[in-house]
């Protein structure tokens, strides 16, 4: 049965179902229970872990502010039989524990010749829009995508968030799970029963014939608005959400570009060495014959995220910029 759920609750439901299914699934992070060590009632669980403590008291813990230790501990625990879901809170805090992610989690299996695996999930809030300033708003998924050994998931809808979280927990590799903070209260139809969405399988959000728009995370919604607007001008856009950027469903992207002859990539991260630049180069390399216009990237500028609402609103890409990018590639197109 499906019902309407928020992105946040969809993630919480996946966590609960997986904790019930498998006692090796343990969840921890700062304030994941919230209020531990006080005489008061349970406090503010940050995010979707609210209530999990009552159901699974042995599988969820609060952690001190010790990311290097608890993310590293997740690696060790994962390599020895548990399936930890560790909560970084904001992805920006990866900065204080990056060795554990980069050198330990991502490298362990390779270095021991496949004799161990690291089935952990690292939850990470990301993205601009909440007026949190430069240290709480980054779109860091390209950095993790760059690292072999890590899987990187960027869900854009509640239903995807649930299915991808389920897959992430069952997956035997380290997965960094990017939750856009501005999507937390977005709502959508989510099946009640447990289900997996395979990694590396893009979702065609909307079909079209004139231009392919590949959009990531919160940008999927912006791309849909842009496509709607362009449709009124008689332009038909296909919108593709890769859902996971590592692995990346290149085949779906190539197939779409082969049909439409044009590509606009929308990525909230900074433009250099980004997922946008990666997809753009892959498409240029592999579907050159099909291209009828220059590939366009729509990204945030090469700058940190500003605090001021006036500046932040101008920071992340919006549907207007996507419309312009589509028009740019269509207008400069060569005849078919």
């Amino acid at each position: 049965m499906a019902r309407i759920l928020s992105y946040l609750d969809a993630i919480g439901e996946a966590l609960a179902q997986e904790m019930r299914r498998d006692p090796a699934v343990v969840v921890f992070g700062e304030d994941n229970i919230g209020g531990t060590g006080t005489d008061g009632k349970l406090g503010n669980a940050w995010g979707p872990t609210k209530g999990l403590n009552e159901m699974f008291p042995d599988q969820i813990f609060d952690a001190p502010i010790t990311e290097a230790a608890f993310v590293g501990a997740a690696v060790g625990a994962a390599a020895t039989g548990l399936r930890p879901v560790a909560d970084l809170l904001f992805v920006d805090f990866a900065g204080v524990c990056f060795d554990q992610i980069l050198n330990q989690a991502a490298k362990l299996r390779y270095m021991v010749g496949g004799k161990a695996s690291v089935p952990l999930v690292l939850r990470a809030m990301w993205g601009a829009g909440m007026r949190r300033g430069a240290q709480h708003s980054q779109a860091l998924y390209p950095i993790f995508t760059h690292i072999p050994g890590l899987k990187v998931v960027v869900p854009s809808t509640p239903a995807d968030a649930k299915g991808l979280m389920t897959t992430a927990i069952r997956d035997n590799d380290p997965v960094v799970f990017f939750e856009h903070k501005m999507l937390y209260f977005s709502r959508g139809v989510v099946p009640e029963e447990s289900y997996e969405i395979p990694f590396g399988q893009a979702r065609t959000v909307r079909e079209g014939t004139d231009c392919t728009i590949v959009a990531i995370g919160r940008m999927v919604g912006e791309a849909e608005v842009a496509a709607e607007q362009l449709a009124m001008d008689g332009m038909s856009c296909e919108v593709i959400d890769p859902r996971t950027v590592s692995p990346l469903d290149t085949e779906s992207i190539y197939a779409s570009v082969r049909r439409t002859g044009r590509l606009v990539v929308v990525d909230e991260s900074n433009p250099r060495c980004s997922v946008a630049s990666d997809i753009a180069s892959l498409v240029a390399q592999n579907t050159f014959d099909s291209l009828r216009g220059p590939v366009q990237m729509v990204t945030s500028p090469h700058a940190p995220t500003p605090f001021s609402p006036a500046l932040e609103d101008a920071y992340a890409p919006n549907s207007g910029q996507i419309v312009s990018a589509v028009q740019r590639t269509v207008r400069s197109a060569v005849p078919a």
Binding site: T36, P64, P306, F307
Partner: protein, 330 residues
């Protein structure tokens, strides 16, 4: 009650000045609480009310060119280090003319002209920076001192432990001020603090360390005088663990303090308000008059109110600012 040697050593003007700093922080925070509730102030705001005596006591022994590095709960430290209240308020509103041009906001408020190296969005992120400022002072041969403020929660970070070691090994002129307000977000110190006191971690690497009553500005000041003196004379770092709970939740608009009993907060506000404790004491000693303190209250209230008015009507930063300050040269 035995009289504190330094409390008596402070001139009436000095006492008024300390009171002015504490009152300004309280007024700033209470006013921000109200303005935030009206949703006029954007973003994440962490209020310092309740902990004023720590910032005021420590910064009262620093000079303008000493350094401090602060936490995400940084307004109090900024005020105590002499940052302009209007510039701060403009920054909280994200307006042009804010201390950081609207780019930083509450969590990143800074003023290098005042030796305020910045609030910090990362727990303990500022601690190594303070150690670095101390190194800078030492290498440049000045007698500047650097203070690292950090929460009890942040004190669990690797960066904190490593900074203690580095400061001890390099004998840096730095004072680590750990503010234990009982919580890291909703998680209690009682749970997350392994070992009895953070001060023991300082002692473990040979840093003189002390637990201080953070509600008592005189006690804080006494401890700070000794620590800053030690740093200035080249005798290395000190750790002060100051205990003072916050009055408000972890973060405005997010935290209803469900993890705390209402009675706890009431007790805190009625019996352990640093401003009340200060007032009772100085009036009993006859060092300043109630009228003088009331005069400070009025001036401070007007000043903060004017700052809010100015911030509300100030201009937004120009969109072109999005691309400035990323690099020094492009």
């Amino acid at each position: 009650m035995t009289m504190n040697s330094l409390a008596t050593a402070l001139t009436p003007d000095g006492l008024i000045e300390i009171y002015r700093v504490m009152r300004t922080i309280r007024e700033f925070e209470d006013r921000v609480h109200v303005e935030f509730t009206g949703r006029d102030i954007p973003g994440a705001v962490h209020l310092y009310a309740g902990q004023e005596a720590v910032a005021a006591g420590v910064c009262s022994v620093l000079s303008d060119d000493d350094y401090i590095a602060s936490t995400h709960r940084g307004h109090g430290h900024a005020v105590a280090k002499g940052c302009d209240v209007t510039g701060m308020m403009l920054e909280l509103y994200g307006k042009a003319g804010g201390l950081c041009g609207g780019k930083g906001g509450s969590m990143h408020i800074a003023d290098f002209d005042r030796g305020m190296l910045g609030a910090n969005g990362v727990a303990a992120g500022g601690v190594p920076l303070a150690a670095g400022a101390a190194l800078s002072a030492k290498v440049r041969g000045t007698d500047q001192v650097s203070v690292a403020f950090v929460g009890d929660g942040g004190a669990n970070q690797g960066a904190f432990a490593e900074s203690l070691t580095l400061a001890a090994v390099w004998q840096l002129p730095v004072v680590f001020v750990v503010e234990d307000n009982g919580f890291a977000q909703a998680t209690g110190t009682r749970f997350h603090l392994a070992g009895k006191r953070v001060a023991l971690r300082g002692e473990a690497v040979g840093i003189p360390s002390q637990v201080v009553d953070g509600y008592d500005v005189f006690a804080v000041r006494d401890a700070a005088v000794e620590a800053v003196e030690r740093a200035r004379s080249g005798d290395g770092p000190t750790l002060l663990e100051c205990k003072a709970d916050r009055f408000y939740g972890h973060m405005e608009g997010w935290d209803q303090q469900a993890y705390r009993l209402t009675s706890e907060i009431d007790e805190l506000r009625s019996a352990r308000d640093c401003l009340v404790l200060f007032t009772e004491r100085v009036l009993a000693e006859g060092s300043v008059t109630a009228d003088e303190l009331a005069g400070v209250d009025a001036t401070v209230r007007a000043r903060v109110a004017a700052a809010v008015e100015e911030a509300r009507s100030a201009k937004d930063p120009d969109i072109s600012e999005l691309l400035t300050d990323v690099y020094v040269s492009y």
